[in-house]
């Protein structure tokens, strides 16, 4: 971790054991060794910093920081100290301190190329673009190397990109950057490809496309060699921007001749062609058509160009490319859109698609290819089309059950493709129930046959079939994802853990598909799994913040300038991820639900997660939805496919839920702060600890929660449905229908009234006391209502069929969560009511009054406390009895109707067992938590 080349330096030799200890994770020994060394050599600063690293890594941040600052104020200039401090600050997530360090170092050693370059990188880590620009120039003045000069130029571009004011970018930063490059061009000092790339980036951002084209086509453009077709691609982009359709057309022709399968150039070819036709373009009288050669500006030319492409393909013996054939269909579409009769000259789409199927039907992608062009068929052609395709599927003779099977993998692939197309055309959805069941039977027969190469009852059967599928193809991700989704929808989270982990989803996948895991774990009461799945995601997001900055620096070093804004945008996309905000919030709530006031007091939990009620840590306007909602394959017709509206709705859905949860979390923070006002009255200190809560923030958070609840109610009233293989609905609808949101709001409103009571005292507050008493009563009623919605059997066997009511489990979780909040609020109530009561008793003693009238608010609280007690007992009993009956439930006794084959029965049974076991686990975890909560009730008496 430090420069170890200089063996001659005795300090290096002395420090080495400490480095080794740190590298091996032996932090204690590192600290000891450092102490020993410091006794002998007091001013060996680096030893101090290394000790600080050891302290930091053993969770003694404050000590580490103090020690580090002792060295930092001395403004060290030795490599060892500087590097060690850099490492320490990075681990502390304080990259801004590194800049201070090197600012001091270059002040002391102004000619050091190394320190200047470290300073530049330190600025890059924190995104100080202006200072980077200056540091780059300072470096260039010391050592006139081109990269340094261009670091400075790039920093100007970054100032332009990050400027709020677009005008400032266009009139100041970018022109300045342009002039800086031009200066080098004039002096003929341009050396590297990266420098030309940067020049191009600047001109492009300035909209100077003509100038950019000159650069790409001129001598500087010759340096653009790393990337394949770099100059051509850049020219093409510029022709489009400049609307130079003739050049665009000629260049796409040329590129298509080179690679007749590159789809983007077909699209450009057609675009430019029709633009030229619209402009009635005619070739110049003499000379070439355009700078890029021959131009096609008529439909007949396009037709013959397409014919030539296809003739070339046809002449090949094997390895036909799909591009030309699909481009022909695309041209038909475009000609039809313009009502050009020439469309017919290319052939009848049905026939052409049939021919395509004959050629490529055994490729798995045939379906995605043809799907795009299905709308070229008229609805009355659909049946004919599917029948025609079936002719080209070689099936054997029908067996006893009338089903004919394909003879090999290729035939199977063809059959699959036709089946998928028929589904896409909506033919399967048009069938009646009988027809659908018949089809399912047939497809299942096909699936089972295929293996040789490689109502709620329906739901169970689907699970069974998928489990069977997975047992045959243990790495099929689609089987796993479907199973995962089905189990979740059935309320069984236990099997999901293994399924998800067998997908081996890692890193960025935590962001894109992690929602599959985090959405259900907590809501189904599997708290341990919920914590773990939040942790997976959080670990990823936290490391991202540190990691990406390092690669911004790498991009400067390697001159990959175009990657710099890309990396920064990427970092932001992850930082602002919806999923990140969700797991951050849910993880904190979960910790509080599971631990607060059980293993440690609420205020300590709140403090340890630095939860600050006044601060909203979510940037709502920049939230990014990074979920991969297309991870499950769907061949459904268009109207059943996931569309943009579903995505938008789902984002709204998730955001509303997140808002509710984040407000709830902050309100819990408020309640904690009210209950335990910080001892020190120093206001600065209070906000730093994050436990300060002014009554104003309580009031404003409550009104925000209330209005969000209204929005949420309106939203759920629309009762939107997502496609099954689309986004999963948030917890919003179920939470609202359980009544928990309203109940939580009511309980969180209590502190406001109690604050008033605290100020008014018991004597002069009859009205207020009545009000509070009513609130207590209403709260008990609301809780009872939620509990009623939890009653019933989650898994039921009736008439030898089993049905699930998994929402009962979800409601139980809402009940428990609400109980937690109510208990924390009760704790606050106690903290207000107890002193009132004891001062009342003192007063009584003084005056020796014999009056026994208890103030109404005190008796109302006592009553509330005992109704809570009975509610919790009821709930615990309910859970216990559910556990018993669920354990006793014998699913094996079920006759699985309609499932003749024993394999399916086995797998369906297996799925049922998994669901049963998972429900049991949910009940156990929920029961355990509730028991712990019930235990805390005793301390809440007054």
């Amino acid at each position: 971790m430090a420069a170890r080349g200089h063996v001659q330096d005795p300090n290096d030799r002395r420090l080495r054991p400490i480095y080794d200890y740190l590298d091996n994770g032996n932090n204690k020994m590192a600290i000891q060794q450092a102490d020993k060394l410091l006794k002998k050599h007091k001013d060996l600063h680096c030893a101090k910093v290394l000790k600080a690293i050891g302290l930091q890594r053993t969770a003694k941040q404050d000590e580490a920081f103090t020690l580090a600052q002792e060295v930092a104020v001395l403004e060290p200039t030795d490599d060892n100290s500087l590097q060690a401090l850099t490492i320490l600050y990075r681990e502390m997530h304080r990259p801004e301190l590194v800049t201070k360090l090197y600012e001091a170092a270059v002040r002391k050693v102004p000619t050091s190329e190394e320190y200047h370059s470290h300073l530049f990188m330190a600025y890059a880590r924190v995104g100080e673009y202006k200072k980077m620009q200056q540091a780059g120039m300072a470096l260039y003045k010391i050592v006139p190397k081109n990269p340094y000069y261009f670091w400075s130029v790039m920093s100007l571009v970054m100032q332009a990109i990050s400027a709020q004011d677009e005008k400032l970018s266009q009139t100041m930063f970018l022109p300045l950057a342009e002039r800086m490059v031009e200066k080098m061009v004039k002096e003929e000092k341009i050396e590297a490809e990266a420098e030309v790339q940067l020049y191009f980036m600047i001109l492009e951002r300035l909209g100077k496309y003509v100038e950019a084209l000159e650069v790409v086509q001129g001598p500087l453009g010759e340096k653009l060699t790393s990337e394949l077709q770099s100059r051509e691609n850049k020219c093409m982009m510029l022709y489009r921007r400049l609307e130079r359709w003739a050049e665009c057309n000629a260049l796409s022709c040329k590129l298509l001749l080179k690679n007749p399968d590159d789809w983007q150039f077909y699209l450009l070819y057609f675009d430019s062609l029709f633009h030229l036709i619209d402009q009635s373009w005619t070739p110049p009288q003499e000379g070439t058509h355009s700078a890029e050669g021959e131009v096609h500006a008529s439909i007949s030319q396009a037709l013959s160009f397409m014919e030539d492409r296809i003739a070339t393909e046809e002449a090949k013996e094997s390895k036909h490319l799909r591009g030309p054939y699909l481009a022909r269909l695309e041209l038909i579409r475009r000609l039809r859109e313009r009502s050009c009769p020439e469309a017919q000259q290319l052939g009848e789409p049905l026939e052409l698609m049939f021919q395509f199927f004959v050629k490529f039907g055994d490729k798995p992608c045939c379906i995605t290819d043809l799907k795009i062009f299905l709308d070229l068929l008229t609805p009355d052609q659909h049946v004919q089309f599917i029948n025609r395709l079936m002719e080209a599927v070689p099936l054997g003779a029908p067996g006893e059950d009338g089903v004919a099977f394909p003879g090999d993998t290729r035939a199977l692939q063809r059959h699959l493709c036709v089946t998928q197309l028929s589904r896409s055309l909506g033919q399967q959805h048009a069938l009646n129930t009988q027809g659908k069941l018949g089809l399912i039977k047939e497809l299942k027969a096909h699936y089972r046959h295929g293996l040789q190469f490689g109502d709620q009852n329906m739901l169970w059967q689907s699970l069974g079939l998928l489990e069977e599928g997975l047992s045959h193809s243990s790495s099929n991700a689609q089987f796993k994802l479907l199973l995962l989704l089905l189990y979740c929808r059935l309320g069984a989270f236990e099997p999901v853990v293994d399924l998800y982990s067998s997908l081996d989803a890692k890193h960025v996948q935590h962001d894109t598909i992690g929602y599959l895991l985090t959405r259900y774990a907590e809501s189904l009461g599997q708290f341990a799994a919920a914590s773990q799945s939040c942790n997976f995601s959080l670990r990823f997001f936290h490391s991202n913040q540190k990691d990406t900055s390092e690669y911004v620096i790498q991009a400067y070093k390697y001159g990959a300038f175009e990657k710099i804004p890309e990396f920064i945008a990427f970092r932001n996309r992850l930082d602002h991820s919806l999923h990140f905000a969700q797991v951050r919030t849910e993880r904190m709530l979960l910790d509080l639900f599971l631990e607060a006031d059980i293993s440690s007091p609420l205020e300590e939990s709140v403090k340890s997660m630095s939860l600050c009620p006044e601060e909203d840590d979510i940037l709502w306007d920049s939230l990014r939805d990074n979920r991969d909602l297309t991870v499950l394959v769907s061949w459904n017709p268009k109207d059943r496919q996931l569309n943009a509206e579903h995505k938008q709705r789902s984002l709204e859905d998730d955001t509303l839920w997140l808002r509710l949860r984040s407000l709830t979390l902050r309100l819990i923070g408020c309640v904690s702060a009210l209950t335990h006002p910080p001892a020190s009255r120093n206001s600065e200190k209070r906000t730093e600890n994050g436990v300060a809560a002014k009554p104003s923030s309580l009031r404003s958070l409550l009104s925000q929660l209330e209005s969000t609840l209204n929005q949420a109610t309106q939203f759920t009233e629309k009762q939107l449905q997502y496609p099954f293989v689309g986004p999963v609905p948030s917890r919003l609808a179920q939470a609202l229908s359980s009544g928990c949101c309203q109940c939580q709001l009511s309980s969180l409103q209590l502190p406001l009234h109690l604050q008033e009571l605290e100020a008014a005292g018991l004597d002069e507050s009859t009205e207020l006391q009545t009000q509070i008493s009513n609130l207590f009563k209403s709260l008990a009623v609301q809780l009872q209502d939620i509990l009623e919605k939890c009653k019933g059997d989650p898994l039921e066997v009736k008439d030898s069929q089993s049905t699930t009511q998994h929402f009962l489990l979800e409601n139980l979780v809402y009940f428990v969560e609400t109980v937690c909040i109510v208990l924390w609020v009760s704790n606050y109530c106690v903290s207000v009511l107890r002193p009132l009561k004891s001062s009342l008793q003192k007063k009584k003693k003084k005056k020796k009054e014999a009056s026994t009238v208890t103030p109404p608010v005190l008796s109302a609280y006592q009553e509330f406390n005992s109704s809570l007690q009975s509610l919790l007992n009821q709930a615990l009993e309910h859970i216990k009895s559910q556990e018993i009956s669920l354990t006793a439930l014998k699913l094996g006794a079920l006759s699985l109707e309609g499932q003749t084959q024993s394999e399916v029965r086995t797998f369906t049974k297996m799925a049922m067992d998994k669901v049963q076991s998972s429900y049991l686990r949910s009940l156990q975890e929920i029961g355990e938590l509730l028991k712990k909560r019930a235990d805390t009730l005793k301390s809440l008496k007054i």
């Binding site: 790393s226 399968d261 798995p364 379906i367 790495s475 996948q509 991202n544 990406t548 990427f570 991969d628």
Partner: protein, 178 residues
């Protein structure tokens, strides 16, 4: 029927259909960023007209020129299930080879699981041959034995005598390779 273009960070959010394959590794973000920062030209993705990612190749250039070991390396090559058997992998390999040619590489090399016969066969068809076996190169996590890798090579035009691909007589250990 493919659009070939540079891989960008945003593609990391869309590559699940490719990477949820048991033989395709999903690396940590730093790994991808390192390649994007250092060898962006070697990281190419193929996109279908519908916008789905079809497959990608990720590579780098390394080795000493003086020792005639400067070469292109294939770090990852993967094609989504539904876009296989279209020759896409071959196309991506061809592009990587061309870039390596331009950089003056002596050869292109790659590592592949000995058990991955489909891949080994494909690389052979593309002109690659086994240069050496690397013992226990792939470490298994679930208690299964570690797996050997073939280090396969194909000479580029700069190595006219094809010296770089003469097979080593003995297998090597992972710590012995550079």
């Amino acid at each position: 029927m493919t659009t070939l273009r540079a891989f960008t960070c945003d593609d990391l959010f869309k590559f699940n259909n490719i990477n949820l394959d048991p033989l395709t590794e999903t690396y940590g973000i730093p790994f991808y960023l390192q390649y994007l920062a250092h060898w962006p030209e070697y990281f190419i993705v193929a996109e279908a007209p519908g916008g789905e990612l079809m497959g990608y190749i990720m590579g780098k250039a390394e080795g000493s020129v003086a020792r005639e070991e400067w070469h292109g390396h294939v770090t990852a090559l993967s094609v989504a299930l539904e876009f296989r058997r279209l020759g896409l992998a071959a196309k991506l390999m061809e592009m990587l080879e061309e870039i390596s040619e331009r950089k003056g590489g002596f050869f292109v090399d790659l590592f592949v699981r000995v058990s991955n016969q489909v891949a080994v066969k494909m690389y052979k068809q593309l002109g690659y041959s086994v240069y050496r076996t690397v013992i226990e190169y792939y470490s298994a996590s679930n208690g299964e034995p570690d797996e050997d890798a073939y280090d396969m090579r194909k000479a580029l035009s700069r190595d006219a005598e094809k010296k770089s691909i003469i097979p080593l007589p003995h297998p090597v250990r992972p710590e012995d390779i550079e």
